[in-house]
Amino acid sequence: MEKFICPKCGNSNPRFIGHKKGLPYCRACISFTGKEANPSFSVNRQAKLELSYDLSLEQQKISTGVLNAFKAQKNILIHAVTGAGKTELVYKTMEYCLNQGLHVGFSTPRKDVVIDLLPRIQSAFKNAKVSAVYGGKTTILNADIIILTTHQLYRYNRYFDLLILDEIDAFPYSESEILHSFFKKSVRGNYILMSATATEKDMKEIEEDNGVVFSLYIRYHRNPLPVPQITIFNRYGLFFTCLKKLQKHLKMQRKVFVFVPTIAIGKILYSYLSIFIDKGAFVSAKEEKRRVEIEHFKNGELDYLVTTSILERGVTIRNLQVIVFFADHEIYDASTLVQIAGRVGRKSDCPKGDVDFLITEENDEVNKAVDEIKKYNRSL
C-alpha cells in the first residue's frame, strides 16, 4: 500500500494513522479543526510604534540588524538572556511590516504568555488593532497584529509574512512535531525565533535555513544576571529551609515565587507553608482560579505564590525573588532552571535579587545552569 502522508500536518508515522472503512486518515491533527482566518484581510498601514521608554544601545543595534536582515528576506534567531528585552527587539520590524501592509503574527507556546503580551504590544502600537487568539478565545481571528499560541497556528495556513515565535524551547512546542509543521505551514514570508536558552543545534538549523543569529548577553539595564545560590539538605530539612528563606524575604517586603516540580509536591509544600505564613496561594495548570490568583499577586494582595512550571516564562514582576524547591528533580533541565532564575531582577529600578536552588544532592543540570549564567555575566 502506498504510504499515507497527512496533507494538513505532514505526519506519516503509522502510529498516528487510523483507518476508516479502509481509507487512511490522520489522527494526530484531528483536534486541530476549526474556523480559519480570512487570508485576504488588509492591514491598517497607519500603525505607528510608540514606546514610552528608550531602548539601550545594544538593543537598538540588534533591532536595526534584525530589520535589515528581514528586509534581505532572511530568517532570524535571536538568542538573548532572560530579561534582555527580547520582545522590544522585534518592534521595529513589526512596524515596518505593518506599514508595508504585511501580516504580522506573534506566537508562543504558552497561553499565559499570550495574555501577558497583549497589553504590552497594544501599548507599543496604540493605533493598531491587536488581537489575542488562544484556546477558549478564538472569536476574532483577523487583526493587524495577532498574538497567538502555537496551538492556534493551524488556523493561518500560509498567512503570515512575519511570524515571530518566542520561547522556542518551551513545552509543548518543543516536543511536538505537529506544532512544528503547523508553524512552517503558516509562514508565507520569513520568521523570527526567539529564545533565552538556544542550543547549538538550534543555531545550526537556522543557519542552514537561510538564517542569521543575533545574540544579546546583556540585560537592558546592564546589570549582571542573578547567580543562583545552592543549598543542599535532606528531603525533610528542605521544607524547613524553604520556610526560613521565605520568611526572610517577606520580612524585607519582597515578593516570592516558590517553584515546585510537581503538583503533588506543590500541594504538600503549600499546606505546610500556609500554616506559618498566610497571604499565599498555590497555582498550577489544574487550578481553575490561577488567573485570578496571579492577578492578586501582581496587585500586591498576595505575598508569595507556590507554583509549578506554568510561571517559568514570560512573567515580569517588580522585586521578585525565586526559590526553586527540589531543583534536582528530573523534570528540570538546565535551560528551564536558567529561565526560572531569569525571573529575578528584570526591572531597572530593582535589578538585583536572590535565586535559591534547594536540592537534596549534587546534580549536573543544576551545575550546568549556574555555569551558563556565570558565562553570560562574563561578557558584561
Binding site: 502510529r15 498516528f16 487510523g18 476508516k20 486518515y25 489522527r27 494526530a28 484531528i30 483536534s31 479543526t33
Partner: protein, 216 residues
Amino acid sequence: MKSKSTIEVCNCLACLKSFYPSNIRSLLEREPLLCNECLKALSLEKQKTIIEGVEVTTLYKYDGILKEWLLNYKERLDFELAPVFLYVYAPLLKITCKKRTVILVPSSDEKIKERGFNHLEEIIKAYDLPYLNILKKENEIIQKEQSGLNRLQKMKITVTDKSKLDPNKSYLLFDDVITTKTTFLCSLDALKKAGVKRVKGLVLMDNQNVRERKLL
C-alpha cells in the same frame, strides 16, 4: 528493567502516547487500549434510573474527558476511537449480552451519510456484542431548536424488520447521550408496539440532569 522487556509497548488509543502497561494489566487485558492517565481521567459512575418504567443504566458522568472523545469521534470523525467508549465495561457487557440483544437507537440517514459510519454500531461492533439495527427515524427535526413536547409529536420511529424481534426475548436499548430523551422514548414506544416486553436501557452519559441543574 528486566521485567519490562517481557511487556510490549502499547499505544494509547485516545491520547496517542505509548506506554508500558503494568504487570497486572498486561495479565488481565489482552491488549490494553488506554494508558493509565486516560483511564484515571474517565469519570466512571454507574447509575440506574427509571425512565417511563424502564430501567436505564448510565455508565459515565457527563463531564470530563469522555465528552471530548465523543466530540472527536462523532464530529471530527475519529473512527478509531470506537472501542474506547465501552472499554472499561466490556467484560460486564459480554455477560449481560448472553441473555440480551442490543438494539441501537436510530440516527437519521443524512447524519450517517455525512459521517460515513453509524457511530453506535461501531461502538457495539468493537466488542462483538449481538446487536440489531432495526429502528429507523423518519422525520428528522433539528434537535436543538425544538422544545421537548413538540418533538415528541413530530418524531416518528418505526421498526423496519419485525421478523427479527422475538417478543419473548430480552433487549437492551443503547444510546450515547440522552439530552431530552425524546429519541429514546420514541424508540421505546416503537419497540413496545412491536410486542417487545422485556427491555432495558443503556446510555453512556446522561445530560438531562445537568441541563436541569443549569436551568435552576
